[in-house]
Point group: C2
Chain length 425, copies 2
Amino acid sequence: MPEIATLLKRRARLLGPNMTTFYDNPVHIVRGDGAWLWDADGHRFLDCYNNVPHVGHAHPKVVEAITRQAATLNTHTRYLHEGILDYAERLTDTMQHDLETLIMVCTGSEANDIALRMGRAVTGKTGIVCTDNTYHGNTDLVSHLSAKKTPIGGAVDWVKKVPSPDTLAPLGGSVDAQPQAFADEIQKAIDALEAEGHGFGTLILCPFFANEGFPDLPKGFLDPTVEVVRRAGGVIIADEVQPGFGRTGRNFWGHDRIGLAPDIVTMGKPMGNGHPVAAVVTRPEIMAEFRTRFGYFNTFGGNPVSAAAAMAVLDVLEDEGLVENARDTGDYTLGLLKELDHPMIADIRGAGMFLGVEFAKDGDTQAAAAFCAQTVEGMRERGVLLHSVGRHYHGIKIRPPMCFDKAQADVLVETLSATLKALPA
Amino acid sequence: MPEIATLLKRRARLLGPNMTTFYDNPVHIVRGDGAWLWDADGHRFLDCYNNVPHVGHAHPKVVEAITRQAATLNTHTRYLHEGILDYAERLTDTMQHDLETLIMVCTGSEANDIALRMGRAVTGKTGIVCTDNTYHGNTDLVSHLSAKKTPIGGAVDWVKKVPSPDTLAPLGGSVDAQPQAFADEIQKAIDALEAEGHGFGTLILCPFFANEGFPDLPKGFLDPTVEVVRRAGGVIIADEVQPGFGRTGRNFWGHDRIGLAPDIVTMGKPMGNGHPVAAVVTRPEIMAEFRTRFGYFNTFGGNPVSAAAAMAVLDVLEDEGLVENARDTGDYTLGLLKELDHPMIADIRGAGMFLGVEFAKDGDTQAAAAFCAQTVEGMRERGVLLHSVGRHYHGIKIRPPMCFDKAQADVLVETLSATLKALPA
């Protein structure tokens, strides 16, 4: 087996510089099964981070669906095929709010690139509002929303970023004041876009605020925000790439969890268990406006193999009761995490298979960033893979495949306990 | 089996309006093998159009590679994996011009979206030049290059479109004058971009001018263009989505066929035989500039399954001698086509598995559009699938899987002969 150093050198030569690897001591994974991964030396890792293999690494039913369809036919949507239609029906059946029409694409970035243009098409306005600690993808258009990566060409003035909601430092000074305070920030952004002549068209957000550190927010949190957006004539995109497909355990979609009726929903990563498939779902009149104005066609989007992979994911979620498992194992894991005792722990929260521990040093979250990084590395050395989240990467994100079980939760929390104990506070 | 009308109704309801289908009488394809396709009623069609199933529909070696890797592991490039590195080495070995570094993505649109930003990153200029009858993809940025689809938000003034080279009506009035005349048009576009303050950064073109109707152009055709671009400090993107991977029979890449040394090469459709995989290849210093400035990461891009699918395509091309087959069967097919005799035929041309017949009525190509559409429909009714190309969709495009053989060429040309005979001139 090639050594890590050799692989890193080949990577730099063939893929260029600045290619992030997780961990100071990168892992060379060669095999996966359920929530387990194995590296080239045969070491086993518990995967507590990857949401793409949603129903478990190398799930045999998804592999079988891909194989069967790939061995039969893989074409595009200019020929008729029932695969995309059956999937569209099944997927939109999980949604309310007249979200009944679908475009299938290959990545969440492509989905958000379309969704933002739908917003432009129906409102005629170019202005976009997002939070100041988010990520929605990497096309030229979507990259302008990124908090942590400067887009090529620099920032644009038709994107306004509002402060993210926060658990430890709520907007407006208190948890109760936060819903209106967040809406007030959005109103300010809208006013600025209107004053500068762009006009306000679209609010895009992850309804779980995943990259923002998934603060605990009550159902109805976004009600004042929706009022502000509706009054301004804007549309709302719910980016479900992270909370979608049942991850939060009690709702299939993050927007239902928070009580939001979005105009457009985007999804990606977990949709095909690793197969490159993503989608935009919207109301028929928005779809009609976009399709009539633009005539979008995506060669690979909604091909029979992608539709089969995505359908298999829905089948497995149902057959194996994985949303219920996310709820039960999530509750169990959260309970275990809450028994942890360490002076750097500032909060423990999350839902279903999306949990986290936020660190702070004497209330200072930025001061906890190094500690958090050491925790992530310590877990990796002990065979548990997770990663950091939050404005200063000062919290750990636990987001395992949906088949994660209670025995694995025990391993996770025992390992975290040992890792925290071994670190200086 | 559901009737066509029912499928069309479901499509409109679930996918929205304005979803193009090929043919007045759309085909409902359910199975493919090599260059053959079957519809739901068991009718067989000869596929003379699809370049995505590059090595043949449902090729068992590609299916096997996908299955084996999907059943083992599918993660992303933040973990180390040899799949993408082995592929990067193998792919860049097919190229010269110091094109040695790779970004893998999922669609040609994503590839061109990155390539255009690379151009911006290294030149610091936003101006782009493309031809006036092209298509490079459908992200917000790339959609501004489309000749036939107005982008959402309308046209932008930092994209300038130059007249496409043409066989029947060459720029500058003659085939000999055309290379310099094309370069002169590009110089005018550059001057306009500089005068308007955008500056000129990037020329993007398909080196086979596929959407432009693939005019017959001599090797060296782009030499005057390259001189103009270099003098202005710009970079050149060769979009190899159509001519790449040996399609033209005598060169693995379209840019080598025309004698162009591009700065950036993009590729997509045929790369994974239908699996959603695409790529950008460039020189190390351009890659470094882009990656350092932006830090691009694509969750699905270069995952182990996509790399395995793409590698299998290269294996099959080699094992089955498909580039040589494209050359030999291409020459044979072109010879047969040239024996066709019909007053509407204005030109017959192409290379390898990329051939076409251009129609005109008394020298007027626009007047031949309806005739061409009838030809396409007539072929479909006779069991041969192909489609139209050119400024007025006035020519037929023959672009079958690379395994197309001489017996299939006989079927194609006999059917075309019968179709043309049945049509009024």
